[in-house]
């Protein structure tokens, strides 16, 4: 059978420089999914955008053919007139983009934007278009299609916007769907549901799909064919199952090993920790939101409640949850950037036998001293470094603020820190734009370490990075922790990342900790439906372990739909209960807590 699309010897370059995509070949047949895998800069996105010629203006297709053959009459997309190409865009080949937040126009109603995909490609009456769009909305899982039709994008959550994007791509019943990292910006449970939806739609319509991703777990769940790209070239291509089982090319192997995995169970005796660097007792935070109208009462929103954490010195406590779960608020309270509601206590001990500092009510002097001890590593290395400051200035700024050392000492310390995070010291005089994402994250770690703190708060430090870079950064964080006896409060939405680095994991949902345990215990003996959903939703690069959508749907739903034992409504949550040790196993389930009715 003729493939639906075959790309032959595709090369793309910018301006007069060397091509960024070279001699790329792949093909995809109807009903099949092809995954283009690679890290940022590998050329995977550019190659798939070239199909519809949605390229940056400076880029041109240097050579190659892209034969699209929906009905036995192949056309070369590379040489098609822009008029004919417009007829294919959105009609025969549709595309879904990475950022659902920004891929819809903020000023037009969803219905208008989706129906446009139909109206552009044929004479269709307004009422027919609306009927088909509403059907599509229902199909992609909008509970109330009519309401969605009238909504603006900012009224929907990220997952729902991506569903709207899928509806827009699917409404014209295309032969080929190109999805460019469609779930990278979504929470892991939402990702599982969106991937499940895409797969179902493909089975119904028999369309072909090209999935661009950096996540081998997603590949294992979705694709029949894989093309692994690196620096603009195809490294390895073929059916998904054998490649994932035994990657032949060293680069694929490297990617494969960098992918975070759920750990194997290890029996560990855990001594009870006495030396706690940070304790949070009964911490809650309520935000008062100004109502939209001057005369209406302000609204109160509880960001988190009943948080009890203790972080032993030299250990890592991870807080895991999706956006809006209250994990960032918890971190901000721990850092003293936000005061907890009355009654909550945050205690910090800079040294084992020092009297604890009450972080929730520090005076000016205490705050200054505390800031030297507790530092933060931010999520986005691209925006957390000032683009107008040299690395040396960025690094020595904390020392200036705290008035430590002279210029030469500061410089020495900055060089020392650069070396510690694995960057050459001659980079001190460069500006941030000269660094890659991973290097920038190393820089922000170096900045956090400048004051020689004892506590680091890491707010999703790797979620903006490629898998292999993520792996390096996590190793770096582990090494520094062990070398300097640092303690981490690690915030993440990704259980698998946390599994590796954490000594204790707290899973948060809607401002509450629903389950808390050491990672081995949590992964192999999860009790709470939400934890189970998080684990089930985690795509793993193993074709034999598909995402269990039923578990995801059950646990990721609202607390009112959890099984009887865990169910609650509103703020009427059951207590966090310590689990009794599992009778059958040797390991003592120390500190495994679950929020349930006893």
């Amino acid at each position: 059978m003729q493939p639906l699309l075959s790309v032959e010897n595709l090369s793309i370059g910018f301006g007069k420089s060397e091509p960024v995509v070279r001699d790329v070949n792949f093909s995809v047949s109807a009903g099949e999914t092809l995954a283009l895998v690679g890290e940022s800069g590998s050329g995977k996105t550019i190659s798939c955008r070239a199909l519809l010629q949605i390229l940056p203006r400076a880029a041109q297709i240097r050579s190659g053919r892209m034969l699209f053959n929906p009905n036995g009459d192949p056309v070369d997309l590379a040489t098609l007139s822009s008029r004919k190409l417009r007829h294919i865009r959105g009609n025969r080949i549709a595309m879904i983009f990475q950022e659902p937040m920004r891929s819809l126009s903020p000023l037009h109603k969803i219905g208008n934007q989706v129906a446009e995909a139909l109206k552009l490609h044929g004479r269709i009456s307004d009422s027919d278009a609306k009927r088909r769009v509403l059907e599509q909305f229902e199909r992609v899982g909008f509970p109330n299609p009519d309401r969605t039709w009238r909504s603006y994008p900012f009224e929907l959550s990220g997952g729902m916007r991506q569903r709207a994007m899928i509806a827009m791509a699917m409404v014209a019943k295309p032969d080929l769907l190109i999805a460019d990292e469609p779930t990278t910006a979504l929470d892991v449970t939402t990702q599982a549901q969106v991937l499940g939806l895409m797969k179902e739609l493909q089975q119904e319509t028999g369309m072909a799909m090209i999935l661009v991703t950096h996540d081998l777990g997603v590949v294992a769940n979705m694709a029949e064919q894989v093309v692994v790209m690196h620096k603009g070239r195809v490294m390895e291509a073929g059916p998904a199952a054998p490649i994932l089982r035994a990657p032949a090319h060293p680069y694929t192997q490297k990617l494969f090993h960098a992918a975070p995995k759920i750990p194997d169970p290890v029996a560990q005796d855990r001594p009870v920790e006495r030396d706690l660097i940070l304790e949070m007792r009964d911490v809650a935070k309520t935000f008062t939101m100004r109502a939209g109208k001057a005369w209406a009462a302000p609204q109160k929103v509880q960001a988190c409640a009943g948080l009890d954490f203790s972080l032993p010195r030299g250990k890592t406590l991870a807080i895991v949850g999706e956006s809006g779960s209250g994990k960032t608020t918890a971190a901000r309270i721990a850092l003293g950037a936000e005061a907890p509601d009355a009654g909550g206590q945050v205690l910090f001990r800079p040294t084992p036998d020092a009297t604890p500092v009450a972080v929730h009510r520090m005076d000016r002097k205490q705050r200054r001293a505390f800031q030297r001890e507790a530092q933060m590593v931010f999520q986005d290395p691209y925006s957390s470094l000032s683009p107008r400051m040299r690395i040396l200035d960025t690094l020595s700024e904390p020392l200036e603020i705290h008035d430590i050392g002279g210029a030469s000492e500061r410089r020495d310390r900055a060089g020392e820190m650069l070396k510690m995070v694995g960057l050459p010291t001659d980079m001190l005089l460069r500006f941030p734009h000269a660094f890659s994402g991973g290097q920038r994250q190393r820089l922000s770690i170096a900045r956090a370490l400048m004051l020689n703190p004892s506590l680091l708060i890491c707010d999703e430090p790797t979620s903006a990075l490629d898998v292999s870079v993520q792996d390096q950064i996590l190793s770096l964080l582990e090494d520094i922790r062990d070398a300097q006896n640092l303690s981490y409060l690690f915030i993440s939405h990704d259980l698998a990342v946390v599994a590796r680095i954490a000594d204790e994991v707290a899973v948060m949902r809607r401002g509450l900790v629903v389950e808390q345990a050491p990672p081995e215990e949590l992964f192999h003996n999860p009790n709470h439906p939400y934890t189970k959903a998080l684990i089930a939703a985690q795509p793993t690069p193993d074709v034999n372990r598909p995402i269990n959508l039923k578990l995801v749907a059950q646990g990721a739903g609202s607390p009112e739909h959890w099984p009887e034992q865990f169910r609650f409504k509103g703020s009427d949550a059951p207590p966090l209960v310590a689990m009794s040790p599992d009778k059958g196993s040797e390991a003592t389930a120390s500190g495994h807590k679950v929020r349930c009715h006893v």
Partner: protein, 342 residues
């Protein structure tokens, strides 16, 4: 209905602002020591014209200038009864111009609506020129079209207005027979409105509109171009292209709608800068607008006249911002639905 309520609310805040502004204006024009009449009285005394002193003293009492400042303000606004009962701005009595020895309303009457006319024409000109040029410059950025548009724009920004006025008058008259100076041919001044008079005014408006509008238009064009370029890089533009839209329709429907916001928000700033900025131009062009009147009144401490003109400019500004605010709410659902639960 939401929008009507917002408009009413916005109107209320506008009145409040106007009140505050009136206090400030009154305070500022009274900052220099003395007033028009006391200066005059001193002058008469020095030259020994005692009879005139009596007349000035009489006027001082007549217009309550002998009262404390706060009472003067309240009387001027019409909150307190003056020597002749309530007769202030609120009652439609704008006061007396001592310099021209005529009521303020008589002096500014004509130039008031001429000012509005000239500025309205200039604003329309700004928008009509800046909108297409800005969009084209952005869509064809880094091509000859973009560079040409930018060059013309910078020429417009950099050329002093009065110079531009003189050049345009000279060549306009020489080649096109356009009239020089004034807002209408002399024979129509003071005449009732007629078709010929309208034609004459329109003909006279061409050069002033061009002169006053050019710099505003080029500034706005550059701003629109920059906004459009920002928007063109956003993913939703790509989505629209991937849907198969024609570039021209895509530009108009998506990025322009978003880039339009600052454009609308500028209406408020445009009005006052044109009134005050066009003083020099009005002098050079011989326009009987309010600008030159204001300048003269401020110089001679003709307080009621200058107070009225300043209030008028403030009113224009506030109306401009109100219009742009209401338009923004109409245009941008994100502003409209703030606080509505999703």
């Amino acid at each position: 209905m939401e929008i009507l309520r917002y408009a009413i609310y916005r109107f209320g805040t506008m009145l409040l602002t106007l009140l505050v502004v009136s206090v400030l204006i009154f305070w500022i024009i009274n900052l220099p020591p003395g007033d028009y009449l006391s200066n005059q009285i001193a002058e008469f005394r020095a030259s020994g014209q005692e009879s005139l002193v009596a007349k000035a003293e009489f006027l001082r009492q007549e217009y309550a200038l002998d009262k404390p400042l706060w009472q003067q303000y309240l009387i001027w606004m019409g909150f307190l009864p003056g020597p002749h009962g309530f007769s202030g701005m609120l009652q439609g009595n704008f006061g007396w111009s001592f310099e021209f020895d005529r009521p303020v309303s008589e002096i500014v009457g004509d130039s008031l609506w001429l000012t509005v006319l000239v500025n309205l024409a200039a604003v329309l000109f700004v928008y009509m020129v800046a909108l297409p040029l800005g969009v084209i410059a952005a869509a064809k950025s880094r091509t000859m079209i973009d560079y040409t548009a930018a060059f013309i724009g910078y020429l417009g920004l950099a050329t002093p207005n009065f110079l531009l006025a003189l050049i345009l008058f000279y060549y306009g008259n020489k080649h096109l027979g356009l009239p020089i100076g004034g807002l209408m041919a002399p024979e129509y001044e003071g005449m009732p409105m007629s078709w010929d008079k309208v034609k004459s005014i329109l003909l006279h408006l061409i050069v002033p509109t061009f002169v006053i509008g050019t710099s505003g238009a080029s500034a706005m064009m550059q701003r629109l171009r920059a906004n459009m370029l920002d928007e063109l890089g956003k993913p939703y533009v790509e989505t629209a292209v991937a849907k198969g839209m024609r570039p021209s329709r895509m530009l108009a429907k998506y990025p322009l709608r978003v880039a339009f916001n600052p454009f609308v928000a500028d209406i408020g700033n445009l009005l006052p800068s044109m009134v005050s900025g066009s003083v020099l131009v009005s002098v050079v062009l011989g326009l009987q607008t309010i600008g030159p009147v204001l300048l003269q009144a401020l110089k001679s401490q003709d307080m009621f006249l200058s107070g009225f003109v300043l209030m008028f400019v403030a009113l224009l500004t506030l109306i401009g911002t109100m219009i742009s605010d209401v338009l923004l709410v109409l245009l941008d659902p994100r502003i409209r639905y703030e606080g509505r639960d999703g």
